[in-house]
């Protein structure tokens, strides 16, 4: 309810749009907790929003929009239950199980108290239940926590709308059939096990938008924004552990470079050539503060380590000032948490910068048999750069051409073609 004072002078439509954006997921999560039924909660939330659309423009925006919507939604859900025998039976079962938590008097108290509970952590953890497939976790989070429409999610994940709808239907059916609880696990050990799944899903949403090789830029941009919003919610709701702060920091520090990542023609600009004055100083400041806080905690893990690497890039005024030796140390730390060929590749690049390109090249060449890296075009770009810097333009050209074969997006291909031309090579064979 942070906008309580601000909304008074705004037209009802604007307030409603903002309430939808900021509070719809809270409303939905509250209804899910109360009724234990995703479909019922969704319908009731929808009806409350429609009711607001009808009445707010004439009667004015209520003092506390979320409380108003919650009351209307609960009433509409109860109406529906009375009409619908199946829902009634399901709800009766819930009454039996949970007793007091669904007693109507509690609502009145909650509204008088003025402090509505935020049930979204339960939704976040519920959407990322290990019994739900990873691809469905992302979809459910975008739908139920980020409150994106089915069409928006389909567009941003580059899948057809019917596919996306089928995915949501399947996941909801799975939640209902298996009775997957959309609640915060009471066992702290289980909570600790579940949180990394939430963070991974959020980072996948961000990567999906950030590393986009096709699709509408504006829509992909939406995806990185939503990931940051979800990371903020998670960080706020789970402030204890290090990793939510680490993830938020990583996303902010990475996103801060966005304005410099592409040139005027939309062609990618590598880190060493980026105009660092165009990096977003506000995001960097916030990201640095978060990572300092997270890195000091004993449970700091992968996301915090990656954020620390991003921080070293953010803190270097020029590419040449980067503390590569420290970055190598951090990549080693990351590898100590688990082997990952892409991390190995990044470490090799950092070694090449910290010491000599030939050292980096030797490490990269040692990785050349890795099946994942063979098909990863950044690996061939890294090879090409070091081969060129160590005086092997022919080998470099061959690596650039291999990268060109593998690159997916048009902008990326143009970037590689430009490099090939600068080596005096024709970009196409």
């Amino acid at each position: 309810m942070t906008h309580r004072a601000a909304h008074e002078d705004l037209p009802a439509d604007d307030v409603l749009a903002r309430v939808h954006r900021e509070e719809h997921s809270r409303l939905l999560a509250t209804l899910v907790r109360r009724f234990g039924d995703l479909d019922l909660a969704e319908d009731a939330a929808q009806e409350a929003m429609e009711s607001a659309l009808r009445t707010w423009p004439q009667q004015g925006v209520p003092q506390r929009p979320l409380a108003w919507l919650t009351t209307v939604a609960k009433r509409s859900a109860l109406d529906r239950v009375r009409r619908d025998a199946t829902a009634a039976r399901r709800l009766a079962e819930l009454h039996l199980r949970e007793g007091a938590t669904v007693a109507p008097s509690a609502d009145a108290e909650a509204l008088v108290a003025g402090d509505l509970p935020d049930d979204r952590l339960a939704m976040l953890l519920g959407c990322c239940h290990p019994a739900i497939a990873p691809v469905d976790r992302i979809t459910l989070m975008l739908r139920f926590v980020a409150s994106l429409s089915t069409a928006e999610i389909a567009q941003s994940l580059l899948v057809p709308v019917p596919t996306l709808q089928a995915r949501i239907t399947r996941a909801k059916k799975r939640i209902a059939t298996n009775r997957i609880p959309l609640t915060v696990p009471t066992d702290p050990a289980e909570r600790a096990r579940r949180l990394p799944l939430v963070l991974t899903a959020i980072s996948l949403i961000f990567t999906e938008g950030y590393a986009a090789t096709s699709g509408d830029t504006a829509i992909r941009r939406e995806l990185t924004d939503e990931a940051i919003r979800l990371a903020r919610i998670t960080h706020r709701l789970a402030p204890g552990p290090a990793e939510p702060g680490g993830l938020l920091s990583l996303l902010l520090l990475t996103d801060a470079r966005s304005p410099a990542r592409e040139d005027a023609e939309g062609i990618p600009v590598p880190l060493e050539e980026q105009d660092r004055s165009r990096w977003d100083a506000t995001l960097i400041e916030e990201g640095l503060e978060l990572v300092r806080e997270a890195a000091g905690r004993p449970d700091a893990d992968r996301f915090t380590i990656q954020a620390s690497i991003a921080a070293l890039h953010a803190e270097a005024p020029r590419f040449a000032d980067t503390d590569w030796a420290q970055i190598v140390v951090l990549y080693d730390l990351l590898l100590s948490r688990g082997e990952d060929p892409v991390v190995r590749m990044n470490r090799a690049i950092a070694v090449g910068r910290a010491q000599h390109p030939a050292d980096g090249l030797a490490l990269l060449e040692a990785l050349a048999g890795d099946p994942e890296l063979m098909h990863h075009h950044p690996f061939h770009i890294a090879l090409a750069l070091f081969q060129d810097e160590t005086g092997n333009p022919e080998e470099a050209a061959a690596s650039w051409r291999r990268a060109l074969e593998l690159a997916g997006g048009a902008a990326e291909r143009q970037f590689i073609e430009r490099r090939l031309r600068s080596l005096g090579e024709a970009p196409t064979a």
Partner: protein, 116 residues
């Protein structure tokens, strides 16, 4: 709400019951006792080895049944036994599945009982 734990074994796994790590019958009995004590046990059964089984299949509705000795040849996995639990949520079922000795080197498939 009833969940069935299907205790799956694998024919290809030569450790099945043969190594020190494999759970013995007394562990399964202790697990059964724990379920009973918690009041969540709603049924179940243990099965003889899959090679003792007999398969019957009909290619379509009107086809003659084809009977063969042993399990379905294409599948390496078999059901070694089942346990029926009466609990409220999947999470509770999973807590029990994690304690089930059959999970060690095997696989527990948790399936809600179809409510007809």
């Amino acid at each position: 709400m009833k969940y069935v734990l299907l205790l799956m074994g694998n024919l290809a796994d030569d450790r099945c019951g043969e190594t020190d790590d494999a759970p013995g019958p007394e562990e399964f009995m202790a697990f059964d006792a724990a379920l009973e004590k918690a009041g969540v046990l709603a049924g179940g059964f243990a099965l003889t080895d899959p090679e003792e089984g007999t398969s019957l299949t009909k290619a379509d509705r009107d086809a003659e049944p084809v009977i063969t000795a042993g399990p379905y040849a294409e599948s390496r996995e078999f059901v070694g036994g089942t346990i029926v639990l009466e609990v409220d949520t999947l999470d509770e079922a999973l807590v029990w599945a994690a304690k089930c000795p059959g999970a060690i080197g095997g696989r527990i498939e948790v399936r809600p009982l179809l409510d007809l």
